[in-house]
């Protein structure tokens, strides 16, 4: 499925903005290039006149040989259909400056901060341009191609120093600091003054103190995390409180930043597959799916018929266990400590058994390959899946509902507590169940179909109130819809080869760019890959659902009580591996 923009759009824009918008003529690229100075104007036209209301991804690319920096934008319509790619190119001379799109598309907020942090692209007009994944004061912008990490060995893998002879050494021995460290010349650590989050607290001060009845009250800043039992990992939020009402919030992330993009650019295309497992570690199958689709699009290869069905089966099983754990963990956050989670984990184990049987690992499956999957599903495993999706899981879903959906405590705690309304959700780029619970039936399996989802009979789950209770119910709905897809898929799965390609260690990927996206259980998971024809990707970027979804967190929380914050955060279903990468 190519997401090239419709030709009429291109003509419209080039005619509307002559000399400003030019089609991107490089082979393998699509979309068009916008002049830097007119970017905000063009983006406003794209949003208001063409109706591309959802800006999903903002990515920087460092084209070192051409001495250019590029910022790529991917916009879509929430009514479905192909997307629109537009980009800005600026010379690679510091300061690299691009106008910020935060005021047109608020969803660009955190992503622009990420591009500033990792690539050093300054977004002029951004209200709060701080580093996001690394800390303030860190030396350099790691994703620039001329920046080398402390354990730098060679430009790309496989490293010639180790292969083919099999030599090995400790990376520590080759670093002057004997560790994963890098300091400027003549650096003196004793003279260093740490920043201590002053910029963060400064940015929270914009919530001015209002004095009512002549009384001046102070706002309290509360830090939650990174070590907190309810933040689903190492998430930190700095909250400003007025009494117990939240008046301001800044997410602080990066505590699990594992340098996915940088490592991915050294790896060969296939070596990245196991790394995608560790993004959203609940759903390694979905992550594999997204990455495989992206690279297949670039390679223009078909996927074996049987493999398509296996992929759908695995991705949907993954969605079921994710949503079950979501419900269990939500109840944990609400105070029903552990019992619902135990129910969820019971079912999850059965699904993990299937993953282990087909891939060899419970969690980190590394199961997909370009053109298919790595191993076939044996008949006895298929029978196990059938038992699960026809007998066990539908009954267990009913049991979940019977125990929870009508539960008085749960209902009174969840019903009517606003999460987000449809307009705000779209504006801030929220995707996945949270968007659908707000009444926007935007599911990529329908809106931008991939794989064989168009062959099954199923409905996009949608709820309309956008409160916490709907957010809970939609997960149950989606489990049921996934079961419907699974029941059809296991019945109609064809025999045949499981990969359209020969097994190979290194794939040939033609030059070009590719943006592949899937509906992961948490929202839109997309990969942006740029290839220059060599065995390694030139740019490998993950657009995770969790990361973009938390852009909206502040909007969701302002005006609510601090006691609801944990539940609201739970609603977004974030996973730090994916959020921080």
């Amino acid at each position: 499925m190519m997401t090239a923009p419709a030709s009429t759009t291109t003509i419209d824009l080039t005619q509307r903005f002559p000399g400003v918008v030019t089609p991107d003529a490089r082979p393998g690229y699509s979309g068009f290039i916008v002049e830097k100075d007119k970017l905000v104007e063009v983006a406003t036209a794209i949003r208001d006149e063409l109706g591309f209301d959802l800006l999903t991804a903002v990515t920087g690319v460092d084209y070192l040989p051409e001495n250019k920096m590029e910022v790529v934008y991917h916009a879509y319509k929430t009514t479905g259909g192909p997307g629109l790619v537009f980009r800005v190119q600026v010379p690679r001379v510091d300061p690299v400056e691009v106008p910020s799109l935060v005021h047109v598309y608020p969803s660009a907020d955190l992503q622009e901060r990420e591009a500033w942090d990792l690539l050093g692209i300054k977004f002029t007009g951004h209200p709060d341009l701080r580093r996001i994944l690394m800390w303030e004061g860190y030396e350099g912008h790691p994703l620039r191609k001329d920046w080398q990490e402390p354990f730098y060995e060679e430009e790309v893998k496989p490293f010639k120093s180790r292969w083919p002879d099999g030599k090995f050494f400790m990376a520590e021995d080759r670093n002057p600091f004997k560790d994963n460290l890098k300091f400027p010349q003549n650096f003196d650590p004793e003279k260093w003054i740490p920043e201590n989050d002053e910029m963060l607290y400064q940015s929270l001060k914009r919530y001015t103190v209002k004095s009512e009845d002549g009384m001046t009250t102070d706002r309290i800043v509360v830090n939650m995390g990174p070590q907190h039992p309810s933040t689903h990992g190492v998430f930190r939020a700095a909250l400003t409180l007025d009494g117990e009402t939240i008046v301001g919030l800044k997410p602080v992330v990066g505590y699990l930043h594992r340098n996915h993009d940088k490592i991915g650019e050294r790896n060969t295309f296939l070596q990245n597959m196991p790394f995608t497992d560790r993004l959203d570690y609940f759903n390694s199958m979905s992550n594999n799916f997204g990455y495989a689709i992206t690279v297949e699009k670039l390679m223009k290869i078909p996927v074996a018929e049987r493999a398509e069905y296996i992929r759908v089966i695995m991705a949907e099983l993954s969605r079921i266990q994710n949503h079950m754990v979501f419900v269990g963990m939500l109840l944990n956050d609400l105070g029903a400590m552990y019992t619902p989670a135990l129910y969820a984990f019971e079912e999850r184990e059965l699904i993990l058994d299937i993953f282990e049987a087909v891939s060899g690992s419970r969690m980190m499956c590394n199961y997909f390959r370009f053109g298919g999957v790595v191993r076939d599903v044996p008949d006895d495993v298929l029978q196990k899946i059938k038992d699960l999706v026809f007998d066990r899981l539908p009954g267990k879903t009913d049991e979940f509902e019977r125990l929870l959906s009508e539960n008085e405590v749960l209902v009174s705690r969840l019903k009517g507590v606003k999460v987000v309304d449809a307009e705000t959700a779209v504006k801030y780029g929220v995707t996945g169940p949270v968007l659908r619970a707000a009444g926007v039936p935007y599911d990529l399996r329908r809106a931008d179909p991939y794989s064989v989802y168009d062959r099954f009979d199923w409905d996009v789950a949608v709820r309309h109130n956008g409160d916490m209770y709907d957010n809970y119910l939609i997960r149950i709905d989606e489990i049921r819809q996934s079961l419907r897809i699974l029941q059809q898929a296991v019945k109609t799965i064809p025999q045949g080869p499981i990969n359209s390609q020969k097994p190979q260690y290194q794939v040939r990927v033609p030059a070009g760019e590719s943006y592949g996206r899937i509906e992961s259980p948490k929202g839109e998971l997309a990969f942006y890959v740029v290839s220059n024809g060599k065995p390694n990707p030139w740019r490998y970027h993950v657009r995770p659902a969790s990361f973009v979804n938390i852009t909206c967190l502040e909007q969701m929380c302002i005006g609510t009580k601090i006691a609801d914050f944990v539940a609201l955060l739970g609603m977004l279903d974030i996973v730090m591996g994916e959020l921080d990468r």
Partner: protein, 211 residues
């Protein structure tokens, strides 16, 4: 533990009171109590934390070995289970948590990342193993370790506890300073700075070639 196992065999207990009397050493009794109630810090870093939860859930049920009471506060925890990749940004928080834990305390490095950086070792924000900062008692291999592996690692920790003696334990020794296990909190500078290594960093930075 049953009386027979707790008793030391070299003492003859008259047959008629064998079920009422047990002769043992204080160390054994004390360690038996400690090993059976190791309270881990409820502290998940990454993927491994999910397997840690799975190990506590129905199928594997870590509670059988007496270490299921997760404590979200370090003040009540005995053991820190470093479950996942340790990043430079996170490590000051981890050290602070460790310093807040009361003695006796143990550190278990769960998975490849916590043991030595794992698949992410080459990353610029990754600490290649928590043992660069904390004394680790047990390393559990795997990426992530299966719940069985985690439980096996916990049993190894229990074996270690069994071998300790009150007499030699530093946390009861008045002569040892109170902060025997205190680890200075690293500082986030241009890169991660360990206060114990300031001199070394300064020397290496001065000797560094180029600009």
């Amino acid at each position: 533990m049953e009386n027979e196992k707790l008793s030391l065999p070299q003492y003859d207990i008259p047959e008629d009171i064998q079920n009422a009397v047990a002769i043992t050493t204080l160390d054994r009794l004390y360690n038996w109590g400690r090993r059976s109630s190791v309270w881990p810090l409820m502290f998940g870093l990454a993927c491994c934390a999910i397997e840690m939860i799975a190990a506590q859930a129905g199928r594997y049920d870590m509670a059988r070995f007496g270490m299921e009471v997760m404590r979200p506060t370090p003040r009540q925890a005995d053991m820190m289970l470093v479950s996942g990749t340790v990043t430079k940004k996170m490590v000051p928080a981890i050290i602070r948590l460790y310093n807040q834990m009361p003695e006796p305390k143990y550190v278990v490095a769960m998975g490849a990342c916590a043991s030595g950086g794992g698949p992410f070792k080459e990353g610029y924000n990754v600490v290649a193993g928590i043992d660069k900062f904390l004394p680790v008692d047990v390393y559990i291999p795997g990426c992530p370790p299966t719940p069985q592996a985690l439980i096996a690692g916990m049993i190894k920790l229990q074996e270690k506890i069994d071998k300790q003696s009150i007499k030699k334990a530093p946390w009861y020794n008045k002569k040892v300073k109170e902060d025997v296990n205190f680890v200075p909190v690293p500082v986030l500078g241009p890169d991660l700075m360990d206060p114990r290594r300031y001199e070394e960093i300064k020397a290496a930075a001065a000797a560094k070639e180029g600009a």
